[in-house]
Structure formats: structure tokens, C-alpha cells
């Protein structure tokens, strides 16, 4: 898999390269600002891109804007946005078009297997949302979520992060069938129709969390 990275901090970009190479991924370009990132995407047509939120010159949310621009230029381009802090608003902005998008804390990178897993999910058109974003979204709407059992809430959180039923089952050490049943309960308690697609489920969760019933 070919990766383009937009990261201005050399320590971090070299660390990312090291880490991705150790997992057999190919880093074809490392851009240090938004403009060179867009140029690198044009030149290399990568399978997935990794973008830092804060990029020169102002170190605000250039990364988010660069990611959105790249996806306008190349519809469906998978982008995994990395940040040293998570803002729910940025997540909402990115998820406006949810195919192949990810938003993770940089901390997650050092959990190599999970990170590569998330990267793969994004590359194949899925979603990867940081657990902290999910947790914050969940605390924002406590009443109906309170109606869920603890297990159902765990499953909802994992769903919101973008995991499929099999992964959720193995994480919680339960059967696929049990997960399926729990999800059915969650959707019926939240009044949502169940679907199979990972990112649609995230959307359903987000849509529910963001709008008042």
C-alpha cells in the first residue's frame, strides 16, 4: 500500500515512516505543508494519505482544509487525519463525506497494529474515529444512551469508532451472533434501522448524537 504523509515535524514524519515500513507499507512522499501535500497526491495517486491537522504557515487547521481540498480534487481519496488533540467539530467536518476518512489522536499511532488496522479501514473506504471523540459525543447525549446496558454502550462506542461486527466480537470476546443481537437492541432503543456498512453505522450514531430526538 502506497502512502503520502503530510507532517512538518521531522521527528514525527520519520517515526511514521519507520513504523509504516516495519509493517510493509510504502511511504512514497512526505510533504511538510499543504501545498506540497496536494502536489504529492497529484503526482503519486496514493492508496491512503496521512495528514497532520496543524501544518505551516499558521499551524491551525491547515491539515483539515488540505484534506478536504485533496478529496475535492480526488473524490474518494482516503485520508487519515492525525491530531495531537481531538475536536468533535473537526470530526463532524471531515465526516460530512464519510467514505475513506479517519480522525485519530497521534497517541494511537504507537499502537501499531490498531493504527495499521485503522489505516487499512480508511484505505478501503471505511471510517476510523478516535475513541476519545466517540466518548465525548456520548457524554453529550446522556439521556437516551442511559437506556442502554453497559455492554450495549461498549458496542455502540466500538461501532462509532468504525469497527465491524467481527472485530467487535473479538474485542469483547463474545460471538458474532451476540454482537448482532446487541446491535439490533441498540438500534431499536435508539429508533434506528440497522445496516451492515461500517461507516453508515458511524453516521447513524453521529446523526443520532448530533440531533435532538
Amino acid at each position: 500500500m502506497r502512502v503520502v504523509i503530510a507532517e512538518d515535524n521531522v521527528l514525527l514524519s520519520s517515526g511514521l515512516e519507520l513504523l509504516l515500513r516495519s509493517k510493509g507499507l510504502e511511504v512514497v512522499a512526505v510533504a511538510t505543508d499543504a501545498r506540497s501535500f496536494l502536489a504529492a497526491v497529484d503526482a503519486h495517486h496514493p492508496d491512503v494519505t496521512i495528514v497532520d491537522v496543524r501544518l505551516p504557515p499558521s499551524f491551525r487547521d491547515e491539515g483539515i482544509r488540505a484534506a478536504l481540498q485533496a478529496r475535492r480534487d480526488h473524490p474518494g481519496l482516503p485520508v487519515l487525519v492525525l491530531s495531537q488533540y481531538v475536536e468533535v467539530v473537526y470530526a463532524a467536518t471531515l465526516l460530512a463525506a464519510p467514505n475513506g476518512i479517519g480522525y485519530l489522536l497521534k497517541d494511537r499511532v504507537s499502537r501499531v497494529d490498531e493504527f495499521v488496522d485503522a489505516l487499512n479501514r480508511v484505505a478501503s473506504g471505511g471510517t476510523a474515529l478516535d475513541p476519545e471523540v466517540v466518548a465525548r459525543l456520548l457524554t453529550h447525549r446522556s439521556d437516551p444512551v442511559a437506556a442502554l446496558t453497559r455492554r450495549e454502550r461498549e458496542i455502540l462506542a466500538l461501532m462509532a469508532e468504525g469497527h465491524d461486527n467481527t472485530t467487535i466480537a473479538s474485542r469483547l470476546v463474545i460471538t458474532d451472533n451476540a454482537v448482532h443481537k446487541h446491535i439490533g437492541n441498540i438500534f431499536s432503543k435508539l429508533g434506528l434501522a440497522p445496516t451492515d456498512s461500517g461507516h453508515r453505522r458511524v453516521l447513524a450514531v453521529l446523526a443520532y448524537l448530533n440531533t435532538q430526538s
Binding site: 519507520l18 513504523l19 497521534k106 504507537s110 435532538q212
Partner: protein, 377 residues
């Protein structure tokens, strides 16, 4: 003994000068209504009085309105005291001259002592003369220093700020320095946030990544080394989490990215409750105030989402002079209690730290209104 006489001499000189300035004060009174003349005139008197009293000379400015109490006091005490000093010294000198030289005066006009006693013989000259000398010396020795001290004390008191004026002045100074402190503090907050974010945090992430790669590269069964690496890796991750939390509560990164207005617009769009944001022209807001304002709005909206059963909320932020007011209002069930809700307690603590106020109106049945007012300067 010698010191007492020095005091007497200084008091006498002081009172003579006082007589002169008191007379002058009466003569040029109309001119002294002008602050440009009144202030130096008063200052000169204050410094002179302070020197007599052996006190440090103060430098705080003299207010024009103090003249209203100082000028009458200067004349009312200075004139009689000065006249008494002149009379005393005059009579003393008379006695000194008359005692040895009474016989030199023309026979028809003998000198007088105590104003009335005509001196015509050595007997009267010595007895009455020495009596006058002693009594005048006694007055000069004991009474004149007291009068001078009285005048000096009254002058200093009339030309010193009252407790209320001192307080007003102090508040003005504190307000001025506080603005400076807030601005400096804000610049520091931004700098520290950036340093932690771009420096420390980035380094921690880089270390964690390398530790992760090292752990992966380590063959199975590496035992103690694997354990140490795992501990180092997990410790680094904890440090990252803690540092992120420190930065978030100190100066939320979204403020650095978008400013207060931008951050508030974004925060209103993300909660569980639809919130409309109404922002006036906020002008420059110190970073510390921004952080508290942002914290107050996010906490208030979280409270709304959690407890109010509201269908909507409005956030209004206004700047009036140096005051930033933040109002969060919902259409929920009310009953929010500042003493119970930890959210409100947290807001109150941070608001008070900046000299601001929190007002909560939340009758049972609603609606809830939270008003935070923060001074920006």
C-alpha cells in the same frame, strides 16, 4: 539639653516662616484657586512639615480639592502661632537689650518690660528683665515646638489622602497593573501551549512510535527487555494523555486555532442540543479570559444536554467596555443549582479567579439562564 534648643530654634524658624506664608496665603488667596499654583504651594508646605516632623517626604500627587481644607487650616493655625512666636522672640530680645543698656535710653522715654513696667533703675532692670527673659525663654522652649508640631501635623493630615482616597488610588493602580498582568499571562499561555504542543508532545509521540517499532522488532521470548519496553511504551502513552489534558484545560487548542468567536461558533454546532450563537463585536480578549469564557460555554451546554431536557439553547456573548458577558439560556425544565451541580461549581471557581461573576436563574419548570461576566481589563 542642646538637642532641645535645636528643636526650639527649628520650631521658631518654622513658625516665623509660617507667619509669612500665612499672610501671603491670605493676600494671594484668589491666585491659589488655580491648581498650577495651589499644588506647588501645598507641596512645599507638606515637605517642610514632613522635615520638621522627621518623616519621609511623600511624593503622591496633591489633589486640588484638598486646598479647601488645607488653606483655612494653614491660616487659622499659622497666623496666631506665628504671631505668638514673633511676640515671644521680640520680648526675649527686648529683655536682652534692656537689662544691660536701660540707662542709655533718654530719661523721658524709659524702655518698658512686659509692655508696662518702665525701667528706671538697675533693680527693676535686673528683676523684671530677668523675669521677662526667663518667661519668654520658657515659652520658646516649651510652647513654640508644640505649636510648630501642631501646625506641621495639621498640614500633613490635610495634605494626605483619606482612607477612601487611598483605596480609590489603590484600586486604580491595581486595575491598571491587572490589565498588564492579564495580557502578559495571555501571551504566556499561548506560548506555553505552542511549546508543549510542538515540542514536548511531538517528542513524546515520536518516542512512543519508536518504542512501538522496537517492541514489534523484538523476537518472542525476549523476557525482561520486552517487559521494560512495554512499561516504557505504556508510560509514554500515559504521559501523552496527561499532557493533552493539561493543555486542554489550560488553553484549549481550538482557541489557538480559531479564536474565541470561531471556537464558540464551532462548539455550539457540536453538542447534543441545537444551540444558536449570537456574538457581538468582542474586540481583543485576553487569553485567560478567552479560556474561561470558552470553558463556561462548553460546561453550560453540557449541562443543558445532560440535565435540562431542553429542545434548544442560545448563547449570547457581548462586549461592553471592559466587560465580557456570556449568557447561556435554554428552554428546559430548570432547577439547576449552583451548589449541587459540579459543572456550575467549576464555572464559578474559574470565573471568580478572574474577578468575574456567575449568576444562575433556574426556577423549577425552567427556563435556565446562566450569566457570566468577566472583566477584560
Amino acid at each position: 539639653m542642646g538637642q532641645r534648643w535645636v528643636r526650639t530654634r527649628r520650631a521658631t524658624v518654622y513658625l516665623f516662616t509660617t507667619l509669612g506664608t500665612a499672610v501671603m496665603t491670605v493676600l494671594v488667596l484668589p491666585l491659589l484657586w488655580h491648581p498650577a499654583l495651589a499644588a506647588p504651594w501645598a507641596r512645599w508646605h507638606r515637605d517642610r512639615a514632613a522635615r520638621l516632623r522627621g518623616q519621609p517626604v511623600r511624593s503622591h500627587p496633591i489633589l486640588w480639592r484638598w486646598s479647601l481644607r488645607w488653606l483655612p487650616a494653614q491660616v487659622a493655625i499659622g497666623l496666631p502661632a506665628g504671631v505668638l512666636a514673633v511676640l515671644c522672640v521680640g520680648n526675649l530680645l527686648t529683655a536682652v537689650v534692656v537689662i544691660p543698656a536701660w540707662w542709655m535710653f533718654p530719661a523721658g522715654e524709659p524702655p518698658h518690660l512686659f509692655s508696662e513696667v518702665a525701667v528706671t533703675s538697675w533693680g527693676t532692670a535686673l528683676v523684671v528683665g530677668l523675669a521677662q527673659l526667663a518667661s519668654m525663654a520658657a515659652v520658646a522652649y516649651w510652647v513654640l515646638p508644640l505649636l510648630a508640631a501642631l501646625h506641621a501635623r495639621v498640614t500633613l493630615a490635610a495634605l494626605a489622602p483619606s482612607a477612601a482616597e487611598k483605596l480609590t488610588e489603590r484600586v486604580a493602580v491595581l486595575t491598571r497593573t491587572r490589565t498588564g498582568v492579564l495580557e502578559a499571562h495571555g501571551a504566556e499561555l499561548r506560548r506555553i501551549e505552542r511549546d508543549l504542543h510542538d515540542g514536548t508532545q511531538a517528542r513524546l509521540v515520536a518516542i512512543a512510535m519508536r518504542l512501538a517499532v522496537a517492541r514489534q522488532a523484538l523476537p518472542d521470548g525476549a523476557g525482561a527487555v520486552a517487559d521494560l519496553l512495554r512499561e516504557a511504551h505504556e508510560g509514554t502513552e500515559e504521559a501523552m494523555t496527561e499532557l493533552r489534558e493539561v493543555i486542554r484545560t489550560m488553553y484549549p487548542p481550538i482557541l489557538a486555532d480559531h479564536g474565541l468567536a470561531g471556537a464558540l461558533r464551532m462548539v455550539a454546532g457540536r453538542g447534543g442540543i441545537p444551540a444558536t450563537v449570537d456574538l457581538g463585536d468582542l474586540g481583543p480578549v485576553p487569553a485567560a479570559v478567552e479560556a474561561v469564557a470558552y470553558f463556561a460555554v462548553t460546561e453550560a451546554l453540557t449541562n443543558v444536554a445532560k440535565h435540562s431536557h431542553a429542545s434548544g439553547a442560545t448563547v449570547a456573548v457581548r462586549r461592553t467596555g471592559d466587560l465580557l458577558s456570556i449568557e447561556v439560556r435554554d428552554d428546559g425544565i430548570g432547577g439547576a443549582d449552583e451548589r449541587r451541580g459540579t459543572g456550575l461549581t467549576g464555572i464559578n471557581r474559574r470565573v471568580q479567579a478572574l474577578d468575574g461573576t456567575l449568576t444562575v436563574a433556574s426556577p423549577i419548570g425552567g427556563p435556565t439562564e446562566i450569566l457570566v461576566e468577566l472583566p477584560c481589563g
